[in-house]
């Protein structure tokens, strides 16, 4: 008679850790205290399998027999008690999923935002070398136009602002994200910064009229301040150090679910009105498309968390 499974210390429970395909990952089960939380489970699993630090682990309750293939098991959330919140006891099964190599949010953001500075500035400060010497284009040593200088300041200022916010303002819900995101996001930001900069600082760049330029940069400046204000407000919701979601009600959030995205989108609209380049508009469009998707998800999440939640606009007053 094989007694291994039934031997355990008092005050503890032994959970069956299964992979998606039903294979048992920890032979004999994983032992945790009766009052253990999800975090304790992750720590115990990491102790047994050092290859998977807690940020890479995701545990779910098994999907009931015969359920639709698309149904996902209930995830075990951080801070919750395994026995009280999920009814787990000795012999209970939990499914493990490897989320893949993770990287801290802050690292991703800093890489994403420092890159555009490095990609944009050379076309402005090394204009003669790049357009003239390397590419042989005429007019590369002509003085920079006002709009080109302002564009450089606005673009760089925007990303500097983002870096400072990442360091001093934001409180992130999750500690990490999959490492694939790092490469995807950096490619997006760095490439667009370089392409936009190449055309805006080009010797054959065609500037818009003076009033259009002023109007565009004015909108951009106002929106950047609005975006900063929104971020500071959002940060204040988590001033107590918690990582839960709170309902944003102050400032522009009274009218728009994702006021921070609104300001971000209109910031780039202003920038493009002032600088007028197709690639600049393409960048604004791509960013907006992504932010609209996020805004929809955020709106749905807030509606679920806070019954009766509704706002005049989701992301883009006065349209949506």
């Amino acid at each position: 008679v094989f007694l291994a499974d039934t031997r355990k210390a008092p005050g503890t429970m032994k959970l069956k850790i299964l992979s998606r395909s039903g294979r048992e990952l920890v032979s004999g089960g994983l032992e945790v205290k009766d009052g253990a939380t999800t975090d304790d489970l992750k720590a115990a699993f990491a102790a047994k399998k050092p290859k998977y630090p807690p940020s890479r682990q995701r545990f779910t309750l098994p999907v009931p027999e015969g359920a639709d293939k698309k149904v996902r098991g209930v995830a075990l959330d951080a801070g919750k008690s395994l026995s009280k919140d999920y009814g787990l006891q000795t012999g209970s099964k939990v499914c493990f999923k490897d989320l893949g190599p993770q990287v801290p949010y802050a690292v991703v953001f800093l890489a994403e935002y420092a890159g555009p500075l490095a990609c944009y500035l050379p076309f402005y400060f090394l204009r003669k070398e790049i357009y003239g010497d390397a590419m042989g284009l005429p007019g590369a040593d002509a003085p920079m136009l006002l709009v080109q200088t302002l564009a450089m300041l606005f673009h760089s200022g925007h990303y500097l602002k983002r870096i400072l916010e990442t360091l001093f303002v934001h409180h992130f819900s999750h500690a990490t994200m999959p490492i694939a995101n790092l490469f995807k996001n950096c490619t997006y930001y760095w490439c667009f910064a370089a392409i936009m900069s190449y055309f805006i600082n080009h010797p054959q760049y065609t500037p818009v009229g003076h009033s259009q330029m002023v109007a565009g940069f004015a909108i951009s400046a106002l929106m950047q301040l609005g975006n900063l204000h929104s971020h500071v407000y959002q940060s204040s919701l988590r001033a107590d150090g918690s990582k839960t979601y709170k309902e944003p009600k102050g400032g522009l959030f009274r009218y728009v679910t994702c006021a921070n995205y609104t300001c971000e989108i209109y910031n780039w609209v202003g920038f493009n009105i002032a600088t007028q380049s197709v690639w600049g508009w393409v960048f604004a469009l791509c960013g907006s498309a992504q932010m609209v998707a996020w805004a929809n998800a955020k709106h749905r999440r807030l509606k679920k968390l806070f019954p009766g939640f509704s706002r005049a606009f989701k992301i883009l007053p006065p349209f949506y």
Partner: protein, 242 residues
Amino acid sequence: NNETRAPHVVRAVPSPLAPSAQAAEMVTRAYLLCYNLGQAMGWSAALAATLRSVVNNAGSFASVYADAGWYVRAFQVASVLEVLHAAFRLTKSPVSAALMQWVGRTHVLMAVTHAIPELQSTPAAGVLFMAWALTEVIRYPTYALSLSCPRWLNWLRYTIFIPLYPIGALSEMKLMYDGIPTMRANQMYSITLPNALNFGFDYTTFVTMLLVAYPFLFYSLYAYMFIQRKKKLALIQTRKED
């Protein structure tokens, strides 16, 4: 390679549907059957023309484009319908995958090879046609036969990509690479500054970047195909065992 998306299998069993929905289902099935049969015949003609060309030229691929080109162009461009099938949910393929597939192949075929005559007599063009024709002449019949597809044909479909896929990808890269001098000399498909929109597009640079990206794109699709192969061949095995 069109292997990467979910098969063109028409929905299997019509469960209790309203009569009008059942009629729509049958029309869809009939249409897709005709489409898949048409493509199968077209690519068979292309393959026949290719083989005949190679044999008649004592093993040389130089005339393949001239001899089989009409069939390949017609049926490859016509396969844009598969993107529409996905978009209108006649098939289960994701639209983005179908679109990327079609754009990739058609770009090399029409924008590069057809537009640059010097490329047409190169071995790369001939080999590419052969690889495409061999793949399609197996793929479309599996779609047409759907659930009645014999085991050996299914095996062939999920095995023949192993040599043909890299051969196809390398041929495509060779054609683009060989075309670059002509693209640069003629400023093909390019838009230059100055203009009011401050927009420039240098096609030669685009193709160069595409060539850099190709190995990565190829790798991810090739790996995906192996995963699909494992799934599909195992499925047939268990079905047989049942």
